[in-house]
């Protein structure tokens, strides 16, 4: 059988080849995806009604997207960094979400339910945030944040428990939990949480529980950005510097070997999914307390799907998740301006994201590198190696 789980690579002895594989491959994938995205724009041009064919529309689109994401020199000269800040605001929930999905991958679990955990996390934050809306700010923020974490954790616990003790595949059960979360949110926001006599299904504002704006990050760069960075380092610490983190990685590498070594894979599965759900819940907290500050029945973003892409692109490395999230955060932030200036739907980001994901899985080069990284066994495992074999 296979050798014991390889020691973590993160500490010491970082070879040049390793750095190359970490940077070059994602870079190649991103550039390649941008080229394909341009091709998609060119091909979809005839579908835009009442517009002459413009062979350089893709350039206009990308220009607008980049400008929307980082601003332009004139703005910078005027010390106006609102575009960059909006990228950071879009990035923060993706860091949490990417950490959630990536942490699951490390234990061999595919938490595709980040979207549902995100939604109930926001739900928890809005319930407690509205309740504490005129409490002292630190108390209100802490209360709402903890509530969101708890809600997300609970939403992750259920599939984790069912996976460990009833054999329900976490991919399908987490997706089902996503749909349940959508309906639960709609029911609560148009029911008990709704502002009475409001024509629209909307909750009260969270008041003092809202994340404060960081002074350097005007106009809207909120506390969640800082929390996301802390979380990335924290998750790295948990994974590579604690016993539990080692057990998580060992279980992901080989459940059998870890059981022989005296670990309890089932408990680790439950704990991992709960922790992962908590991180995804924080993504929801981040959007709710930092951006929307109240909830409508259509609350929801693309954070769930984006998180999977972020985790895969960063190969589940908690520190690499930050730049990967920045990439998608930037695209999301710039997509609005692109839609206005080039009439290309903001959903182009979804297409580029899909291309990135396909490239990551299909490129044999990347596969070999990933394989070299994950384990020294018999070559059937790849990428983030969730538990297809240990699934049922």
């Amino acid at each position: 059988m296979s050798a014991p789980a390889p020691a973590p690579r993160a500490r010491g002895g970082v070879s040049r080849a390793r750095v190359w594989s970490l940077v070059a491959v994602p870079l190649a994938v991103i550039v390649g995806s941008a080229v394909l995205g341009a091709a998609v724009i060119l091909l979809s041009e005839p579908l835009i009604p009442g517009r002459q064919f413009d062979p350089l529309l893709w350039l206009t689109a990308y220009e607008a997207m980049i400008q929307g994401a980082i601003g332009d020199p004139q703005e910078w000269a005027a010390l106006d960094f609102h575009s960059l800040v909006s990228t950071l605001v879009n990035t923060a929930p993706l860091v949490f979400g990417g950490l959630a999905v990536g942490f699951g991958f490390k234990a061999g679990l595919f938490n595709i339910g980040a979207q549902g955990q995100f939604l109930v996390g926001a739900l928890g934050a809005v319930i407690v945030g509205v309740w504490l809306h005129d409490a002292p700010a630190p108390l209100a923020i802490a209360g709402a944040t903890i509530a969101g974490m708890a809600f997300g954790a609970a939403w992750g616990f259920v599939p984790g428990f069912l996976k460990a003790f009833a054999g329900a595949h976490e991919v399908v059960s987490t997706i089902m939990m996503n749909y349940v979360a959508i309906q639960l949110l709609a029911a609560l926001v148009s029911g008990p949480l709704k502002v009475p006599r409001s024509p629209q299904a909307i909750t009260f504002d969270v008041g003092n529980a809202a994340f404060p704006v960081i002074p350097f990050l005007q106009p809207n760069g909120h506390l969640g950005i800082l929390l996301a960075l802390i979380a990335a380092v924290g998750v790295w610490w948990v994974l590579y510097r604690t016993t539990w983190g080692f057990e998580v990685r060992a279980t992901g590498a080989s459940p059998d070997a870890s059981r022989y070594a005296g670990m309890r894979p089932r408990l680790i599965t439950v704990a991992t999914m709960t922790f992962s759900g908590m991180l995804a819940g924080l993504a929801g907290v981040c959007v709710l307390l930092g951006v929307t500050k109240s909830m409508t029945s259509s609350f929801g973003t693309t954070v769930g799907f984006d998180s999977i892409a972020v985790a895969l692109l960063a190969r589940s490395n908690p520190l690499a998740i930050v730049p990967a999230a920045l990439l998608f955060g930037g695209m999301r932030a710039g997509a609005g301006l692109m839609q206005i200036q080039a009439e290309i739907p903001a959903e182009l980001v979804d297409v580029i994201q899909a291309v990135i994901l396909l490239a990551l899985v299909t490129s044999p080069v990347i596969r070999r590198l990933l394989h070299a990284d994950t384990r020294g066994s018999h070559g059937t495992e790849t990428a983030a190696s969730p538990a297809a074999e240990a699934a049922r």
């Binding site: 979809s44 599939p159 991919v171 749909y179 349940v180 639960l184 999977i308 297409v351 059937t380 790849t382």
Partner: protein, 361 residues
């Protein structure tokens, strides 16, 4: 014989009476809506067939949802493009079939087969993680259809319409006891009506044909299958692509028969519910179909409760629950079934495991 007092007595029992009222409500309302149940069941059943074919040959296909979505979109778009070429023909007498509809259907199935070939390539040839491969198909399908739909919907185009349901003779439908059942399987469009035959055919094919035996062998013990001369890789490719055709039918059904246009995310998790139906049906076509019917009943109940809630105590209980939570019912049921509430079921032994030929030493 007078049953009314008996029923009233049963309904009046505290707590337990609610259960009797529920049975009474279902008996009263479900037969009237039997064709709708079959409409709900069709995409689930077809998608469950995709799962059965793929997993019986050892490939987990979690990308059914995305495949269906892409097929539904293709059917709609091709209809828009082709309909004017044929001069917007009027629906014919037989199921309302027109040439553009047939072309759309073929295109939808074709796209689904192509996407499945991609999944086969990633999971069989590249031996990528099959769950990730399927998930990427789901994400890609949602992204691409969402993007194109945004572009196309701007000019609010008109599609090729939809398949019409067959109208069974009134005398048949009004037969006592069996009328509603006949109505359920006859008052349908062509895709839904053929589903029953496809399911039976697949059952026979899987358990009584050479191909079926080989498929099961490849899913249980590919190494052994290869030693008797079966080309494992080739057979898995074929089966994943055949499975894709079923998912294509399921998707086309959504945008060509159940409705007449495409909506973003219109599969609403049916691809995953179908996987639960497949598991509940023990990886058999007929089992998967019956499970799909059960899910369809729950989907239908969650709709009917909003339209025609029961009267009496039961009605009060049911309408006090927000409508959105009834919508969550089928998803909760899926989780319960996955958790093994219907007994532990055993998947094919080599399900989800990539196959590597032994090195020619």
């Amino acid at each position: 014989m007078d049953v009314i007092p008996v029923i009233n007595f049963l309904y009046g029992i505290p707590v337990l009476g609610l259960a009797f009222q529920l049975v009474g409500y279902l008996v009263a309302i479900l037969p009237d809506n039997s064709p709708t149940i079959m409409v709900q069941a069709t995409p689930l059943a077809l998608a469950a067939m995709t799962g059965v074919i793929c997993e019986r040959s050892g490939v987990v296909n979690i990308g059914i949802e995305g495949t269906m979505l892409a097929a539904a979109f293709t059917a709609w778009v091709v209809g828009i493009a082709v309909n004017p070429i044929f001069g917007n023909p009027a629906p014919s007498d037989i199921f309302g079939i027109t040439m553009p509809l047939l072309i759309s259907l073929a295109a939808a199935v074709g796209v689904a087969v192509l996407i499945s070939a991609l999944h086969a390539w990633m999971s069989i040839t590249l031996r990528a993680d099959q769950i990730i491969s399927g998930t990427i198909i789901n994400i890609a399908a949602a992204g691409v259809t969402g993007y194109l739909d945004q572009l196309i919907s701007k000019s609010s185009p008109v599609g090729a319409g939809e398949f019409a349901a067959f109208q069974p003779p009134q005398a048949l439908v009004e037969l006592p006891l069996v009328g509603w059942l006949l109505n359920m399987f006859l008052n349908l469009g062509p895709i839904a009506m053929s589903t029953v035959f496809l399911v039976i055919g697949l059952q026979v094919w899987l358990f009584w044909s050479r191909w079926g035996l080989r498929t099961r062998a490849v899913g249980e013990h590919p190494r052994a299958a290869e030693t008797v001369g079966i080309d494992v890789i080739r057979l898995r490719y074929q089966n994943v692509m055949i499975g894709g055709a079923f998912a294509g039918l399921a998707g086309a059904f959504l945008s060509m028969e159940a409705t007449n246009s495409f909506q973003i995310g219109m599969t609403i998790g049916r691809g995953f519910i179908a996987l639960a139906a497949m598991i509940m049906g023990r990886w058999t076509p007929i089992g998967g179909f019956l499970s799909a019917l059960l899910f369809a009943v729950f989907l239908e109940i969650s709709q009917l409760i909003k339209i025609a809630p029961p009267t009496g105590d039961l009605g009060q209980v049911m309408t006090s629950v927000p409508a959105q939570l009834w919508d969550a019912l089928p998803y909760l049921l899926t989780i319960v079934i996955l958790a093994g509430a219907v007994g532990r079921s055993i998947p094919p032994a080599a399900d989800g495991q990539p196959y590597e030929r032994e090195a020619a030493a």
